[in-house]
């Protein structure tokens, strides 16, 4: 018989030393506070943090992409349009499966070129990707949290590139939706192209972009289960891991296949998060509409009068 794992001290409830003797709520309270469950709760935080960072970064990518796509400098315009078309055309899942490794190797290669200019051996040795020690990202002897943060940052960047393309598409449309008269008026006032762009176009485009952007935010929330492909242990990973049936040899808390319950909890989480997002986005929309020359803005004005 394989050994029983060493009994682990539960730091929250003192009665958890012998789970086999517990029943009902007590057992459940111990079960739900194991270190493994803590990792899952921690993963909720990871997902929220990722969303909080990815959203503005993706927006920045989108803004850059959209500005590039309407640039008067042809190569930049082609680059912007190609970025939007290509990344939007690939399923995010396929992108995640090879892009992160490519990105990681790309960064390390650049660092390798800078830090070890005298390196003689080839970087590709057969199947191996070999770079000098100093160029490793993160350094081979860095603590685990550095590795995890680096993985997280790569995930944010990958998400931002993918969703940036969609955001660019939305913003590109929004920039074109700003009434032409507004831009002409700015020109008539003697504003330069740059001034017209930053002072007139950008402030006004958001109201046209927001429906598309909020839709994108909803899609982004629902793409987070793909995080485990990027090496980040997300909530779906833990739900699968914790929910799968557990034999008494390997745990103090054996149970049959409980994935159903874990996924139910995730369903509730995602639905609640969606609801909250909807409410918040509605408020932002009402704010942005204020004073705008749109039908909704007109309605607001009339209601106030």
């Amino acid at each position: 018989m394989p050994p029983h794992p060493t009994r682990l001290v539960n730091f929250i409830f003192s009665y958890c030393t012998d789970p086999a003797s517990l029943e009902g709520l007590q057992w459940l309270s111990c079960y739900l506070t194991t270190g493994k469950h803590m990792s899952m709760y921690y993963a909720f935080g990871t997902v929220l943090l990722l969303l909080a960072i990815t959203a503005p970064v993706a927006l920045a990518f989108g803004f850059g992409g959209a500005s590039a796509a309407r640039s008067h400098f042809a190569p930049l315009r082609w680059f912007g349009k190609a970025y939007i078309a290509i990344v939007r055309g690939i399923p995010d899942i396929a992108f995640f499966l090879f892009f992160v490794i490519a990105l990681d190797q790309g960064f390390e290669f650049i660092r390798h070129k800078i830090k070890c200019p005298d390196w003689q051996e080839p970087v590709r040795q057969g199947n191996d990707f070999v770079i000098c020690t100093a160029a490793k990202l993160p350094l081979g002897n860095a603590p685990q949290w550095v590795h995890e943060s680096y993985g997280f940052a790569l995930a944010v960047l990958t998400f931002a590139i993918v969703f940036g393309a969609f955001a660019a598409n939305v913003l590109f449309g929004a920039m074109r939706a700003v009434p032409h008269g507004q831009l002409e008026t700015a020109e008539a006032y003697g504003m330069s192209r740059r001034q017209t762009f930053w002072r007139i176009l950008v402030p006004q485009m958001w109201v046209y972009a927001l429906p598309g952007l909020s839709n994108l935010w909803m899609v982004l929330i629902k793409a987070t289960p793909l995080l485990f492909l990027l090496g980040v242990e997300d909530i779906v990973y833990w739900a699968r891991e914790l929910g799968g049936s557990k034999q008494p040899q390997f745990t103090d808390y054996p149970h049959p296949d409980w994935r159903m319950w874990y996924f139910l909890a995730l369903l509730v989480f995602y639905l609640a998060f969606t609801k909250v997002s909807e409410v918040v986005l509605d408020r932002i929309m009402a704010r942005l509409t204020h004073g705008q020359a749109t039908a909704a803005g007109e309605a607001q004005r009339k209601a106030a009068a």
Binding site: I90, I93, A102, P225, L267
Partner: protein
């Protein structure tokens, strides 16, 4: 083995026709292109059928959400909320569980535990919910004047819907609906990846790309091939939807129609 033979052997492998065993060593580019392409049959099948059937349900649900009666409106709202508010990953998981228990009770439902029927149902409901929300938004923004004009012409009920409301709704919703179609085709890659088991190694494009990545240990060839196929598919979708868009807008003055066209301009 020449590439042509490979195509004959594996071109329809995803449907179970041709060579029984997948290639096991000496993987060629041709094999990868052929098998991943063969898998695309499933992606197109799921996407196309879910889109076509989902379209009608979406129209019905959108009308339901816009209905006066709470008995119709509430279920429609909840349907949209649940399917739009949860990841497809989780929907596949629950659907598979549900179909299994249905099958245990009534043998009639047994096809639902295989991907070709079960995953199709999930994708159908999913796209119906997303499209319904888009259509609902469009319904809300139909210009009042158009409905008044229809009334003035003496149109009412079905004929008013069929001739005035529905075409206008589609015209307004079309750009967003195009995006939804693209998303749907992309979502079909999840079917075998997380939801349903692959029978006899008959899988979709991602399944075969995964197979090659696993056998050759090199993700940089099969996944970009898969990406290439999907970019092509997306271009086709955009093209077809663009044609429909032109048709939907054909009554508008030339000037405005031109603006909706995507015109590649190299030199300005």
């Amino acid at each position: 083995m020449s590439c042509w033979e490979t195509i004959i052997d594996y071109g329809l492998r995803s449907q179970g026709i041709g060579e029984r065993l997948l290639p096991r060593n000496d993987f060629t580019l041709c094999q990868q292109f052929t098998l991943i392409g063969s898998g695309m049959i499933w992606n197109v099948y799921f996407g196309l059928i879910a889109l076509c059937t989902g379209f009608f349900m979406a129209t019905a649900v959108a009308l339901g959400k816009a209905a006066q009666s709470a008995w119709i409106r509430k279920p429609a709202e909840w349907f949209i909320f649940v399917f739009r508010g949860s990841p497809l990953f989780i929907q596949f998981f629950f659907a598979y569980f549900l179909f299994l228990s249905l099958k245990a009770q009534y043998p009639v439902f047994s096809p639902l535990t295989s991907a070709w029927a079960g995953a199709l149902v999930v994708l159908f409901l999913n796209t119906a919910a997303y499209s319904a929300e888009i259509f609902y938004g469009a319904l809300q923004s139909i210009p009042k004047g158009e409905i008044e004009a229809a009334d003035a012409y003496g149109l009412s009920g079905w004929s008013r819907f069929r001739r005035v409301i529905w075409p206008t709704m589609l015209r307004l919703a079309w750009p967003a609906y195009t995006n939804e179609a693209i998303f749907l085709f992309h979502a079909t890659t999840l079917v075998f990846f997380s939801g349903f088991p692959a029978l006899q190694q008959r899988g979709d494009a991602l399944y075969y790309a995964n197979y090659f990545a696993d056998k050759t240990f090199n993700p940089f060839i099969p996944y970009p091939i898969l990406a290439g196929y999907f970019i092509l598919l997306t271009l086709v979708v955009i093209g077809v939807f663009g044609l429909v868009n032109t048709r939907l807008n054909r009554h508008l003055p030339q000037e405005r129609r031109k603006r909706l066209k995507i015109k590649p301009q190299v030199i300005r």
